[in-house]
Symmetry: C2
Subunit: 107 residues, 2 copies
DNA sequence: ATAACATGTAACCTAATAGTTACATATGAC
DNA sequence: GTCATATGTAACTATTAGGTTACATGTTAT
């Protein structure tokens, strides 16, 4: 679980997930074009995502096809909707917490 | 958003959230008792959680009362249920897209 | 065969994490 | 006031993260 959260903690990696999610089967260079950092840096991010099982890759010829895997996210979703379900109902009605956090909300 | 995922990426911090969630208003030492690491290390974790807005603290006398805040988690939940909703139902997409996207990279 | 392309590996640098110990400050009990 | 308690701050260390450039390997096209 650490790996998944760690992988998702970097905006570049979440962006990669969005890109691959919209372009299933795209390769490393396709993804790297969206970033200003070097291709090697992108590959390291891909490696982290793959280690967290959020990406699946498959070699095809000289290129590597990338696929987004939603299962680990589903796992986290399940944890939150079960273990934290008690807080969802209670805190949603308490508007004090929401207004406090509304300003500092960013992407 | 980086802060929230980063905060959740360490199992000790997720454990802290569980502890504080079950003991609202508990203080730093109460939490530290659950860990073998030093109190200062625990305080650093608390600081990270507080910076991510997952914890709210309030001084009361000589101790600090801790509360779990579910709002940032709800924010993430919203993102996943909206942006990734396409993947939830059917995570297997046909392979038509990948051939199309690869041709477009002609330049 | 050779050139262009896609990916992989190695070595290196800087900054942030995660932890420690030692000391300082503030408060409640007596 | 004195002392135990609860928290806070400072300084240090080791490891990991995130990035770079240079070079190597494998594959497709001409």
């Amino acid at each position: 679980m650490d790996d998944v959260f760690q992988a998702l903690s970097h905006s570049a990696r979440r962006k990669i997930l969005d890109i691959v999610g919209k372009m299933p089967g795209c390769n490393v260079n396709d993804v790297a074009k969206y970033f200003s950092m070097s291709r090697i840096a992108v590959m390291k991010h891909l490696g982290i995502l793959e280690k967290a099982n959020l990406l699946i890759s498959q070699k095809s010829g000289r290129s590597r096809e990338l696929y987004f895997n939603v299962v680990p996210i589903q796992m986290i979703y399940d944890r939150w909707t079960t273990e934290y379900s008690q807080f969802w109902a209670s805190k949603l009605t308490d508007l004090k917490f929401q207004t406090e956090t509304k300003k500092k909300k960013k992407k």
